[in-house]
Amino acid sequence: MGKKSGDDVLAGTGPELDFSRQLSERGVSRRDFMKFCSAMSAALALPATFAPKIAQALDEVKRPTLVWLEFQGCTGDTEALLRASSPTVAEIVLDILSIDYAETIMAAAGNLAEENLSKVVKNEKGKYIAVVEGSIPLKDDGIYCCIGGRTAVDIAREVCGGSFATIAVGTCASYGGIPAAAPNPTGAVSVKEAVPGATVLNIPGCPLNSDNLTAAIVHFLLFKKLPAVDSFGRPLFAFGKRIHDNCERRGHFDAGQYVEKWGDEAHRKGHCLYKMGCKGPETFHNCPSQRYNEKTSWPVASGHGCAGCSQPMFWDTLTPLYRRLPNVPGFGIESTADKIGLGLAVGTAAVFAGHGVVSALRGEDKKEGKKREDMTHDKDRR
């Protein structure tokens, strides 16, 4: 099975693959599935020829287990997942992942639910993926979030600590988010800070774009490792470029055409929202290309500025929402968050460094991230 060429898979001439069969049992045609894999390749910024490889990688994995923990969250990331934009197939991919614990959707409650979680932790140590939504309060011994009589930090240390990898979904789990906004009443921190020993991939956003989560999981299945990240622990495939540089309204910024009032002619004609407080110039996220709800829209396209929700501590550093950013340079498309972001968003970097996460990133990922970043530069220079 592993020796089959990509063309065979695409042409559908080879013997049925396990995964493809599972899909067809769920009413999904191979064509739909390949379409999904192509979409995933695009999300991961991979060449289209990777699509058959993704199909193959998914096929070879026997429903790895995923547990979804929610702590100081609002369930917005869970809801985002329910709106995944390659929905039928995404649902099935997740189904194929065997979601053994997810409070919002699981049938069992109380002890019966906790039993499901402890089974995974005990029987699949080091093999399962943990997803965390929401921040983790550390103040006063963590009593601001308890589940089943245990603190969030206690649960996170056990579950994330024993996972193959942990994916922090949304800005709260990634960086502390709104609970950690000043004055951070509960001592809320990110997953990485609460469980320093865990391997954590951050997929921020408020909520995250579920396509980025699906893409990260596929990346993990395909390459057997987490994707390269920037210094904020975010995958470069989704957070490698600045919104401002990919914004559909960038031409209006460069031409000096700005919205001045809500509903004015410039607003109606889709001019730049910079003067209305748009934080696109300081925000790294693939919203302009990936969009939301089956690629229907994203904030700027619907007339409201970007809030900077994928930036660490944006609640403090990029508010007020409607205050225009100072000193936005006209160019800088060649830069990633690590270069321009740190220089621009001084407040962000300072707060983030203060949380001690930068140093906690894994060495290997850093190296990988560096390589990818260099490649991006080469391409841009050409």
């Binding site: 917005g76 408020c206 007339g303």
Partner: protein, 566 residues
């Protein structure tokens, strides 16, 4: 006497714990506790009031529009801003589709597994299932092939031996009463609703960029411009797409949700006598007419299940108590504080984790106890419908009467677990049927040349008074929601939200009166204390939303240290 604990209560938003005492197979006492706290209202202090909607939206990602609405209404109330009719209509559409989508998700994905046995669906006869479904509605998917397909998928899933989120469910429980065919029909619609919900909520993305957390609300209006000649505004193309999605929403509610609800309810009529609760109901009313401001669903209060009288709602009569909640009042215990004057400091006094039981004789929750004239009030679709029904609202009267007749029960059946679940369906139906009207009104306005979406005046804080205060109400999918704001020197001085699940999930108060969840659990039968699915039925009938319910207002006046970009 056995004391049991259900923690976590799953298939809800947030973190909820129920402790209950059982005697002779029935619950004789119960305690509702929220075990998570963030303190967002404390975080709001000193910030720009125009930002509050974006912060409070994060109270909850499930009812993802409701706090934005209540927040902008509160600020508009404080500053005396009247928004243009188009903005009111766009808000009505956004609120309406939220209500419809949220209720359907609740029924199928959060509540159904309390009543529906998925494993029993494996034994169903697809032809009989199709016949059953066809007898209920003319939904095009009511065919043998379709149900056979769903059953085959289900069999394949189960045969893999890993049930994922369905593991350890209440399968084969003695309280499960549906015949196999009804179970298969409901399971098929569980999957179908999963597809439907992400389609219809695209209306939020069209009008407001994304869902969850649409980014489009503005104090004074909405951020989506209107221009028929622009690609970057609400134009005919987008209006047509919304029209199609509203039809899809209405069709599913009329032909799938309501028939399923009635079919399931007819097998669980004993639950029309269980889960009554406190018997006081409050609704703030909703869906203002864009010109007159008159609400489609009227506001009001019903006391002691007496439908002969509807009392007016007066916000001054609301107060919150913390005698049994993990907070401290400077003026001591036993006194309730109005949201404007609210004063709260978090002070945990519960057991040190890990713990087995809370000290339910003392303080035991992060939820405060809001009371109306010292009475606990139930809020939610049932309260909304009872108020509308008793006020003589025609659409509500007709729908309620029809449902009661169909199930062959009297109005007293409404005061129950089943009544709550049924009311949610009726609310969903009326809203789904009303939604196209708001879109047509919007189109009429545009046709007349009105493209205003924002009030413009008072956007600039320099036009504001030195001090202002106001409140904003919204009848959210889970019930009466209120935000109160005090503004001083263009900053938030105080912010307080009293939300539906605060009312419903409230612990006991200064008088020892139970909150609505707690009261509703009294008398609920529990056949097997190790698998207390009956507790889930009554609790889920309220559609809990706990992240919303817990909040904190800081009145200590501490200077906040904030890092800002210059």
């Amino acid at each position: 006497m056995t004391k049991i604990v259900v923690d976590p209560i799953t298939r809800i938003e947030g973190h909820l714990r129920i402790e209950a005492e059982i005697s002779n197979g029935k619950i004789v006492d119960a305690w509702s506790s929220s075990t998570m706290f963030r303190g967002i209202e404390k975080i709001l202090k000193t910030r720009d009031p125009r930002d509050a909607w974006y912060f409070t939206q994060r109270f909850c990602g499930v009812c993802t529009t409701v706090h934005s609405i209540a927040s902008i209404r509160a600020v508009e109330n404080a500053l005396g801003i009247k928004v243009p009719p188009n903005a009111e209509l766009i808000r009505n559409i956004i609120m309406g589709i939220q209500n419809v989508q949220d209720h359907v998700i609740h029924f199928y994905h959060l509540h159904a597994l309390d009543w529906v046995d998925i494993t029993s669906a494996l034994k169903a006869d697809p032809a009989k299932t199709a016949a059953l479904a066809a007898s209920l509605s003319d939904w095009p998917l009511n065919s043998t092939t379709y149900f056979k397909g769903v059953q085959d998928k289900l069999k394949a899933f189960v045969s893999k031996g890993r049930l994922g989120p369905f593991a350890n469910g209440y399968w084969g429980h003695s309280a499960m009463k549906l015949p196999a065919e009804a179970n298969l029909m409901a399971t098929a619609h569980y999957l179908e609703a999963l597809e439907w919900q992400k389609d219809v909520i695209r209306i939020h993305a069209i009008l407001g960029s994304k869902n969850p957390h649409p980014q489009t609300f503005l104090v004074g209006g909405m951020a989506i411009p209107i221009d028929l000649d622009s690609q970057n505004a609400l134009n005919a193309d987008k209006l047509a797409e919304i029209t199609g999605l509203l039809k899809k929403a209405k069709d599913f509610v009329e032909k799938v949700y309501i028939p399923d609800l009635l079919a399931v309810a007819s097998f669980y009529k004993d639950w029309a006598a269980i889960g009554g609760g406190v018997g006081n109901y409050m609704s703030y009313g909703e869906f203002p007419d864009p010109v007159s401001g008159k609400q489609l669903f009227p506001p009001g209060i019903i006391l002691g299940k007496d439908l002969s009288k509807v009392h007016p709602v007066d916000q001054k009569k609301i107060a919150e108590y913390v005698d049994r909640s993990w907070y401290e009042y400077s003026g001591g215990q036993g006194k309730g504080l109005h949201p404007y004057e609210g004063e709260t400091e978090a002070k945990y006094s519960g057991p040190k984790p890990p713990y087995k039981n809370l000290d339910t004789d003392r303080k035991y929750s992060w939820v405060k106890a809001p009371r109306y004239e010292e009475r606990p009030m139930e809020v939610g679709p049932l309260a909304k419908l009872l108020v509308a029904f008793a006020s003589g609202h025609k659409e509500t009267k007709d729908a309620v009467t029809l449902v009661l007749k169909h199930l062959n029960v009297g109005p007293e059946a409404l005061f129950s677990t089943l009544g709550r679940t049924g009311a949610r369906g009726i609310d969903c139906l009326i809203t789904a049927q009303q939604l196209p009207t708001w879109l047509m009104q919007l189109e009429d306005n545009i046709a007349k040349g009105d493209i205003r979406i924002h009030a413009q005046d008072k956007w600039d804080p320099s036009t504001w008074p030195a001090e202002a205060s106001g409140y904003g109400w919204h009848e959210a999918p889970r019930g009466a929601l209120g935000h109160w704001i005090k503004i001083k020197d263009k900053q938030i001085l105080n912010y307080q939200a009293v939300v539906p699940s605060t009312w419903n999930a409230s612990p006991r108060d200064h008088k020892g009166q139970r909150g609505p969840y707690e009261e509703a659990l009294i008398g609920t039968p529990v056949a097997d204390p190790n698998r207390p699915v009956e507790i889930l039925r009554t609790i889920h009938s309220f559609d809990p939303c706990l992240a919303c319910a817990v909040h904190l207002l800081d009145s200590t006046g501490n200077e906040l240290v904030r890092v800002t970009v210059k």
